[in-house]
């Protein structure tokens, strides 16, 4: 095969791959929709206010709806991309960050450029937490019941519980921060509307700023088609953002016709060859490898 022919073949393969990416991007949110929903967040001074507006618009929303009225979110799903917490939205609109957050974003980018990276949570199999949960990769399962929906992810075996039985958050004096917060919701037709508060102050991702305990979000989960679920997310955290930020994330149903795929337990100690540590300069390195084989170690 001549060099030119090889290049033609490579170009065709690459173009086909790019077409797949382009098709995925076509499934992404239209910029006008992003602007409209971003403005909706700006029009409400808190997540509670936005949630109350949505609930009123839904006539109070449905709680404990019968199974027949719930969407089919069965099977396995994985992230299909979408907006991020600290990068530009459509049209180059940037989140408005507090000075401290902007400095952390800059520091994270500089460390990344130097190849310095460590994950205080995932590297030790700690929980990703929420809202980081929205952007982590790998498999997910969505268990939808009338009174409660479980949004689970394979990564570190985490589960978000969304209560749709009409309960409220805990009384203010009884609230305590947790990794995934306290999530209550209602159904608006086939859309699941969620309000989350009482989150822990912790990292939002590798090299990214820390959210505060003041972080609250509103989400609207919606089925776009048989293979796509969309979630609109409004993030309110005055320690991070000087005005609310809006992102849209998508999840796609994973082809599992032969049913070989299944979610398994994550434990970083399962295989000692996965043991990493934080280096003095703040980066990631493997501990000593065994490479003697699990069977030889009697495991």
């Amino acid at each position: 095969m001549t060099t030119v022919k090889r290049l033609v073949v490579l170009a065709l393969v690459a173009a086909a791959s790019a077409t797949v990416v382009a098709q995925q991007q076509q499934q992404r949110q239209a910029p006008a929709d992003w602007q409209r929903l971003h403005q909706m967040g700006l029009a409400h001074r808190s997540a509670s206010d936005l949630y109350a507006t949505l609930k009123k618009a839904a006539g109070g929303g449905k709680v404990n709806p019968p199974f027949a009225q719930l969407p089919d979110w069965s099977g396995l799903w994985t992230t299909a991309g979408g907006g991020n917490f600290f990068s530009a939205g459509p049209g180059g609109v940037m989140p408005k960050l507090t000075p401290a957050t902007a400095a952390m974003v800059k520091q994270g980018a500089e460390n990344e450029a130097k190849g310095i990276s460590y994950d205080e949570n995932l590297s030790e199999c700690g929980p990703p937490g929420y809202p980081r949960w929205l952007v982590i990769p790998f498999m997910r399962e969505f268990i939808v019941r009338p009174e409660e929906t479980w949004l689970s992810s394979e990564t570190v075996n985490n589960v978000r519980r969304i209560y749709t039985d009409g309960r409220d958050h805990l009384a203010v004096d009884d609230r305590f921060p947790t990794y995934y917060g306290d999530s209550i919701g209602f159904w608006d037709g086939n859309k699941l509307v969620v309000h989350t508060n009482t989150l822990m102050a912790r990292s939002m991702g590798r090299g990214q700023p820390n959210q505060s305990e003041g972080m609250e979000t509103v989400e609207i989960w919606n089925t776009l088609d048989a293979k796509t679920i969309s979630v609109d997310v409004w993030l309110y955290d005055p320690a991070l953002y000087t005005e609310p930020w809006y992102v849209n994330r998508r999840y796609t149903r994973v082809d599992n016709a032969d049913k070989v795929l299944r979610m398994n337990y994550w434990h970083c100690g399962e295989n000692p060859n996965n043991d990493v540590y934080k280096t003095p300069d703040g980066s990631t390195q493997y501990n000593d490898f065994t490479f003697t084989g699990q069977k030889e170690q009697g495991r």
Binding site: M263, N264, V276, T284, Y286, Q294
Partner: protein
């Protein structure tokens, strides 16, 4: 289409795939993504584990000394989706395997591609190695 145009199209298409990279259990900074290492050897063990899997390969050097290399990949669900199963690499399987080597020189690498002795090619990341 000229050669330059083809190269431009190829480059643009490959660049468009970059956002598909994902974050995993740990950063990949310990691997040198600018380098590739390819070795021939025999599978010692396929550790099909979360959060990362390891394919251990015994490589015999010119001096006859055997070194066990470890090639790291994602966990079982990612490998299953990319058609890399435990039964594909039973102990004793001969193969040629390519990865991004450790920066510190230890015999380990981020697994990019493997070609078994029977000619079957495996891409554990689901991406063509050239896009990494």
């Amino acid at each position: 289409m000229t050669r330059r145009t083809l190269i431009t199209v190829l480059g643009a298409a490959l660049f468009s795939l970059a956002p598909m990279l994902v974050e995993a259990h740990h950063s990949a900074v310990m691997f040198d993504d600018a380098k590739e290492v390819t070795v021939e050897g025999v599978v010692k063990e396929f550790q099909y584990t979360n959060p990362h899997s390891w394919l251990l390969v015994d490589v015999t050097g010119k001096d006859g000394k055997v070194t066990t290399w470890g090639f790291e990949a994602e966990g079982p669900t990612t490998l299953m989706r990319n058609k890399v199963r435990p039964s594909d690499f039973k102990a004793g399987t001969r193969l040629t395997i390519t990865g991004h080597p450790m920066k510190d020189g230890r015999p380990a690498a981020l697994w990019m591609k493997a070609v078994r002795a029977d000619g079957v090619v495996f891409n554990p990341s689901g991406r063509a190695p050239e896009t990494n």
